[in-house]
Amino acid sequence: MSVSIILVPIALAAVAAWHAAQTEEQDGHLVCHVATRMRDPQLLTAALTDTGASVETAEGEVVARWHGVDAVFRRDEQGIWSVHLTGETDEEQALDIVTAIDAAYGRQVQRAVLARLKARAPDAGLEVTSETKQGDDITLVLTVAAGA
């Protein structure tokens, strides 16, 4: 079975909330809309790898393969991602897959933000004086350098 999912950016999801709840049938296959934070192709590739997929990238698309399910991610002119899943999947499983990818993407964003902050803080007169993890959240204490 094949399922297509439009990945609506969360920032737009409130406006497109009625779309987010819709499942339509187009040209004989299901099209769903899911609110997501996914935007960056590199982070998407890393997130897909985290979910156990083998990933290939080509011009304008990212192809992920798991056992029994293939997914092709494409971005339109407005930068909206869509994913077309084929293989041993139905609508519910497809949505579960996208939810898992979105969660993995969030963890990639966390890692990227953390690395960026640590790399740039010294030049901004800030010293990372502690880093702690509580559950899934990471907290940094940045101390303002004297004279900064």
């Binding site: 930068g79 933000v113 899934d136 959240d137 907290t139 940045l142 303002v144």
Partner: protein, 73 residues
């Protein structure tokens, strides 16, 4: 005045919350812009914490700011 800190929490979905500590006067607001630059993010909400009413002397009113940031699209 003790050490000045910014406590930055990054959640598992990449959202960032930042809170200044011991940064007095209007200077705390400068750190919102700095954090936006460092994180390439946009502030979605900010508010003074309950410490903003603490007054060290007649000339300065300490203000601490908590900001929530999200990455820019």
């Amino acid at each position: 005045m003790g050490e000045q800190h910014i406590v930055v929490t990054i959640t598992v979905d990449g959202s960032v919350t930042a809170e200044t500590k011991n940064i007095h006067g209007g200077k705390c607001l400068d750190y919102i812009g700095l954090l936006e630059q460092l994180l390439e993010a946009q502030t979605t909400a900010s508010a003074y914490t309950s410490d903003y009413k603490r007054v060290e002397d007649a000339l300065t009113s300490p203000q601490e700011v908590r900001s929530d940031l999200h990455e820019q699209p």
